[in-house]
């Protein structure tokens, strides 16, 4: 069943929609959540909440790309939960490491998330596809360096080095935009 057919089920308020997204996107959303939360149980709750959010959002939403739509919901829910866990001194895992890696790109309080998103979006468009994807696998999907290295057949050192270079270029870009 393609994206539009699934979205149509949501619009018809058919519970088959939930079964379809669970079957098609369940593992994908769960992976995103596990990578952020480092906890299968918390991730599963995030994924369940994702279906609920999607159910409440469609209609009126009619996303063009369901994977991005659902993945973004899961990611935001997982980030919310991660911040709550951090407050309780839980957390750890790849998220902690990824945040440390992004420390040089830490935005000041006054910078708006929308402005930063816009600048990152434009920057990533200008990057080579492979560099962009490796960057996104790390900081969007929160895959470990090891997993990315295995995926691309690179050494972990090469992946780290590549990420460092992309981050450095992004830093220059954000600085030039006055966002750092």
């Amino acid at each position: 069943m393609d994206d539009q057919a699934i979205i149509e089920l949501f619009w018809q308020r058919s519970e088959d929609a939930l079964a379809e997204v669970s079957a098609r996107f369940g593992r994908y959303c769960r992976t995103i959540a596990v990578n952020i939360l480092h906890s299968v149980e918390d991730a599963d709750e995030c994924v369940s909440d994702t279906w609920l959010r999607a159910w409440n959002a469609m209609p009126p939403a009619r996303p063009n790309k369901l994977a991005a739509f659902l993945g973004r919901i899961t990611r935001n829910l997982a980030l919310d939960r991660y911040e709550a866990m951090r407050a309780q001194k839980r957390g750890g895992g790849e998220m902690e490491l990824a945040l440390e890696e992004l420390a040089d790109l830490a935005a000041p309080e006054k910078a708006g998330e929308g402005e930063i998103s816009h600048a990152i979006n434009a920057f990533l468009r200008s990057e080579a596809p492979e560099h962009r994807n490796i960057f996104l696998k790390r900081y969007l999907c929160l895959y470990s360096i090891k997993e990315i290295a295995a995926e691309y057949g690179y050494s972990e050192s090469k992946v780290k080095s590549l990420l460092l270079r992309v981050r450095n270029r992004l830093k220059i870009e954000l600085e030039s935009e006055g966002l750092l």
């Binding site: 593992r27 994908y28 992976t31 995103i32 906890s39 299968v40 149980e41 996303p63 790309k65 994977a67 991005a68 739509f69 993945g71 973004r72 990611r75 935001n76 980030l79 911040e83 750890g92 945040l99 440390e100 992004l102 420390a103 790109l105 830490a106 935005a107 000041p108 309080e109 910078a111 998330e113 929308g114 930063i116 998103s117 990152i120 979006n121 990533l124 468009r125 596809p129 962009r132 994807n133 996104l136 696998k137 900081y139 969007l140 999907c141 895959y143 360096i145 090891k146 997993e147 295995a150 995926e151 057949g153 050494s155 972990e156 050192s157 090469k158 992946v159 780290k160 080095s161 460092l164």
Partner: protein, 375 residues
């Protein structure tokens, strides 16, 4: 960190097409992992091994050995007479005796100087100072669509190659014969090993490159579909067998250099011991090394095992319970427990067997506490 989180959130707002592009790659990765789990060679015998561990661990006999070597290094005929894969144990020491007939090239005693690694590459290097940490990497990797193995190889020929790598352009492709491997399914086969040159590793002429005619015990990785292997950690998983059949690790880490001057059979027995238990033994060894704590408590009228994992690796005080396994007559995995492979082999063990396994590993390690950062 708060503003890093803002950046992290901002990354999530990229355009749909880029999000989907990254997502589709992730999905592909997951599919590959699953296929690999199905086909991973060790999985074929993991279940019986797990079952046997109940007995084997309690007996605390760390001598699981693979097949006899195909031939000794002097003969150079590594492919001849390959034995049955994983033929069993070595109660009479016959296999160990045969391993100790293997001879390599005369070797010098020198120590790798990591300072010679390019700074850019050093940035990402995590030195491995204990065999068990190498095994943990293998356990993880086998779950990620990567082929991983330990093997004793004899180098047949080498040729220089150019590489596009952060470690530099200079490299070597070595054609090797497998004399022995932990899975026992590659004995007699030929494989290609690609290495980057770490020039002047010792400040003299020695390099990390395999030498023609040399015999090595290597930790090897390969991607599915890739036509060559790499030495994992390179400077770490690179044991040389000398002309007398003795080991040279060239490592500055005591956990690796303790094999220096020892017979090949001793190193190989430890490799087999750890590698043969990918589902939990090497994992436990790692966690115990990190300071994992185990506690039996009574909850709601039933015994429960709590495993405490140090949150940040080595700080026991900062640990948290991350698994609770129910003990009735035997350990069971409760519904909803984390579905990590690591826990599954505990199922079916009695409390006594479980504790024996822990003590067995502690005895093997000979120490507790994390020493990864030790030089």
């Amino acid at each position: 960190m708060k503003s890093s989180m803002k950046t992290m959130r901002a990354i999530g707002n990229i355009d749909d097409d880029m999000f989907e592009e990254a997502a589709s790659l992730s999905a592909a990765g997951v599919r590959r992992k699953e296929r690999r789990i199905t086909l991973a060679p060790w999985m074929k015998w993991a279940a019986p091994v797990a079952a046997c561990l109940v007995i084997a661990v309690a007996a605390a006999v760390p001598q699981l050995m693979g097949p006899p070597p195909a031939a000794d290094g002097d003969a150079g005929g590594y492919g001849a007479g390959a034995g049955t894969p994983n033929a069993g144990q070595d109660p009479n020491g016959l296999i160990a005796a045969r391993l100790d007939t293997i001879r390599g090239l005369p070797a010098e005693d020198y120590t790798w100087d990591e300072g010679s690694i390019p700074a850019e590459a050093e940035f990402g290097r995590m030195p491995t100072n204990e065999l068990r940490y190498l095994m943990r990497e293998f356990g993880d990797r086998n779950n990620r669509g990567v082929l991983a193995s330990f093997a004793i190889v004899k180098v047949e020929s080498t040729k220089p190659i150019k590489l596009d790598s952060v470690f530099g352009d200079e490299g070597q492709l070595a054609t090797c014969g497998v004399m022995y491997d932990v899975l026992g399914d590659s004995v007699g086969q030929e494989l290609k090993i690609e290495q980057n040159l770490y020039g002047g590793c010792t400040g003299e002429d020695e390099t990390n490159l395999l030498r023609e005619g040399g015999v090595y015990v290597l930790s090897l990785l390969s991607q599915e579909g890739q036509d060559h292997w790499t030495v994992y950690g390179d400077l770490d998983g690179l044991f040389e067998v000398d002309g007398q059949g003795l080991i040279h690790s060239h490592s500055r880490y005591p956990g690796m250099s303790k094999y220096d001057g020892r017979p090949l059979s001793e190193l190989w027995a430890d490799i087999e011991y750890l590698y043969a238990r990918p589902l939990y033994h090497s994992w436990l060894a790692e966690e115990i090394g990190y300071g994992m704590d185990i506690e039996f408590v009574n909850e709601d009228g039933q015994d429960v095992v709590h495993l405490y994992e140090p949150t940040h690796g080595w700080d026991v005080a900062d640990s948290e319970a991350f698994a609770a396994l129910v003990v009735n007559d035997v350990i069971t995995i409760p519904a909803g427990a984390p579905a990590y492979n690591h826990f599954r082999p505990f199922a079916g063990m009695t409390k006594g067997e479980f504790l024996s396994a822990i003590e067995d590993i502690k005895a093997f390690l000979g120490q507790e506490g994390d020493d990864r950062n030790a030089p």
